[in-house]
Amino acid sequence: DQQVKQNSPSLSVQEGRISILNCDYTNSMFDYFLWYKKYPAEGPTFLISISSIKDKNEDGRFTVFLNKSAKHLSLHIVPSQPGDSAVYFCAASATFFTNAGKSTFGDGTTLTVKP
């Protein structure tokens, strides 16, 4: 049972344009969502997060949107840069204040930003 899904395995955009990565989840108990970025031969790196009490969180070029009714979140990168080329993982947790709450990960979207 895959509770977090990233339906697009890959995405290619032109430098300077917007990249939109999507993520859907099925578990209504999830209340904390994160995006990670992963380069080859490295571990995932935390990028941005959002709590279920918000519908938007922005950090520089990165914005995460949450639509709880649709159980959908998206990551917007604007403007996209070649250095953004990586695998992006969406993750969700059912608890925030207890660290024992595990994060459930999607299977990733490979973003390629063309110069």
Binding site: L34, Y36, A41, E42, G43, P44, T45, F46, S49, V87, F89, A91, F96, F97, T98, N99, A100, K102, S103, T104, F105, D107, G108
Partner: protein, 113 residues
Amino acid sequence: DTAVSQTPKYLVTQMGNDKSIKCEQNLGHDTMYWYKQDSKKFLKIMFSYNNKELIINETVPNRFSPKSPDKAHLNLHINSLELGDSAVYFCASSQEASWAGYTFGSGTRLTVV
């Protein structure tokens, strides 16, 4: 100055052998994790330790045994290795009530031949 370090980075071994992967974090985090990334690229949690206590133990074969001598270390020992154990294993740590997510190590690519 690596925050979460795993050793070895690559591990090639024969079926039936016993091997260990070590993980150390210097961030002062309370919780450490082991995740497995299989050939389909899914990252699945295996274990979670909070201050040396086992908190999460997913459905993982008994051949996998985590050990946490202190809260800065979480090692993974695997007995009687099988072909299906081939994967990339990531160690991670996090701080309670932090918005910063997990800090991952760079992974250990285990290949069982």
